[in-house]
Symmetry: C2
Subunit: 306 residues, 2 copies
């Protein structure tokens, strides 16, 4: 029997998720859940998020495609009471709180959750763990050049911002330092965060600039460039959602370097979430990061990779 | 209580393993087992392999450091009856047979085995699985430039060979083809296998050349260069055991590239085996490849990588 899937949230990731699932014969995409009044791109039924409980016996797995900043902490916690879920919660410092809560709820309601799935956190977490546990040296992560969904989303949620997009640009000198065990890297100097922001009528550039520069986890303390542009310029930029990233681990004698590059960030993330759907039925109830899921669980024929 | 470790086989990998374990306070290296009459480099007691059974209650984990070509299939099968083991069996095409046998024996005798651990098979198997299951495109593996332990060992076991070393050199054009979804790569054209061979007195160059070129799995059908040199030249070459490798996965829009480079191949492999010691007590009895072991099992503080 096919696994019946639902998508919660219909932004960039929700759209990409719809495309991935519709193109795969192993899964049935039953519905997309949204708080907004939207039409789906590929004809999937769209249901109000408030009505999600009614799908308890019609859907096996919900893919949580909301934003981490305001949505996923409460949405995943609510949805895991009735469904197995996969989410992409990516506010690194709040993951312990989120996962602990999800784990309690998942066990109580006999469901499984895979949290913080995607590329970072997600496969970059796997790379970081391997690099560090094998070499016991230094592990550095770089993002970009590319569009950060999480940071763009965080900008868009600022009161007075009409639309925004954020490019993460890695610092070439810092990458060189990452390959040398003895160089110290200042975490806040590793990237430049280039923000294109379109304001709502009457919003203050100064106030918004200040709010961005002081947003904890996302921008505070980092090298940030803010450019105020028109809505149409943002719309044009948003057509290209490329991104890239690398994890570099070194000790005195060895280097492990893991790189990803993608034309479309939400599509790449959707491919990873998609792969983990098949892992869920193999897990006991509870919440897991992908570090706790054997990679054999996402492959039908894992022995062929040895 | 510290995990008590034994090392079986005292070649290049056995030596590297001894260094890694002696330098780690979490483990006690109780003994090295060898069929030969050897002295250990760091003063670890050396015991005849024939006496290994007597250590049943004195050692928790045996690290199997013999060669894949002639040793590991029977040695791991014998040793897993009395101990938990980790082995590096790396003859790709024979892994299903080896693992099936190990799994039966491990379950019967209530022990755990992690087989085919190391970098390839091992972490490259993880990279290949991820790249392919996420992108569903094309995944290519390249080795080198560097010294292949398995291939050097295979050369040395040929009757008439006094000593040998094999360099694997990746083909630059093939790497370019790997990054393009639409190019086809001929597996046998991906690398050049450069063999330095010192003969025993009276051995025939022609006969040995023929034997190398026809050795299944290792050389047959591949681009092979054989150079006959003196024992002292081999000894000089063997002082440098550098190696490297990469796994490249692509689809139309995305690329995942995983690279390793090392100054000393046995040392790098030993670091990986070492990391997996801590996973063994967390497994049920049976034999596992590292694809089946959650990466969280090799880390005390895995959540910190999210």
């Amino acid at each position: 029997m096919k696994i019946r899937v639902g998508v919660v949230g219909y932004g960039n990731l929700g759209h990409a998720m719809e495309r991935e699932i519709v193109n795969n014969k192993r899964y049935d995409l039953v519905a997309i859940f949204s708080r907004r009044d939207v039409q789906s791109e590929l004809g999937t039924p769209v249901v109000k998020f408030a009505e999600i409980e009614a799908y308890k016996d019609k859907i096996d797995v919900m893919i949580m495609c909301g934003g981490s900043k305001d949505d996923l902490m409460w949405q995943s916690a609510q949805v895991v009471k009735d469904f197995d879920i996969i989410d992409t919660f990516d506010t690194h410092k709040l993951i312990p709180k989120h996962s602990c809560n999800l784990n309690k709820l998942a066990k109580l309601h006999n469901h499984r959750a895979i949290y913080s799935c995607g590329w970072d956190p997600g496969i970059f977490s796997l790379y970081k763990l391997m690099g560090q546990e094998f070499l016991h040296g230094k592990t550095s992560v770089f993002w970009g050049k590319g569009v950060s969904q999480g940071h763009s989303d965080a900008l868009r949620r600022i009161d007075g911002v009409a639309d925004a997009i954020q490019y993460t640009i890695p610092n070439v000198d810092a990458i060189k330092q990452a390959k040398n065990l003895k160089s110290n890297i200042d975490e806040n100097k590793k990237h430049t965060r280039l923000c294109y922001v379109a304001l709502k009528d009457g919003a203050s550039e100064e106030k918004i600039t200040n709010e961005i520069l002081n947003m904890p986890y996302y921008f505070k303390g980092q090298e940030v460039i803010i450019k105020f542009v028109s809505l149409s310029q943002i719309a044009k930029l948003k057509k290209k959602m490329y991104h890239a990233g690398k994890v570099i681990s070194v000790d005195e004698d060895n280097m492990i370097k893991n790189e990803v590059s993608m034309k479309n960030n939400p599509q790449f993330t959707a491919k990873i979430l998609h792969a983990y759907i098949s892992a869920l039925p193999k897990l006991e109830s509870g919440a897991y990061s992908i570090l706790q899921v054997p990679l054999s669980y996402i492959s039908k024929n894992y022995d062929s990779y040895l």
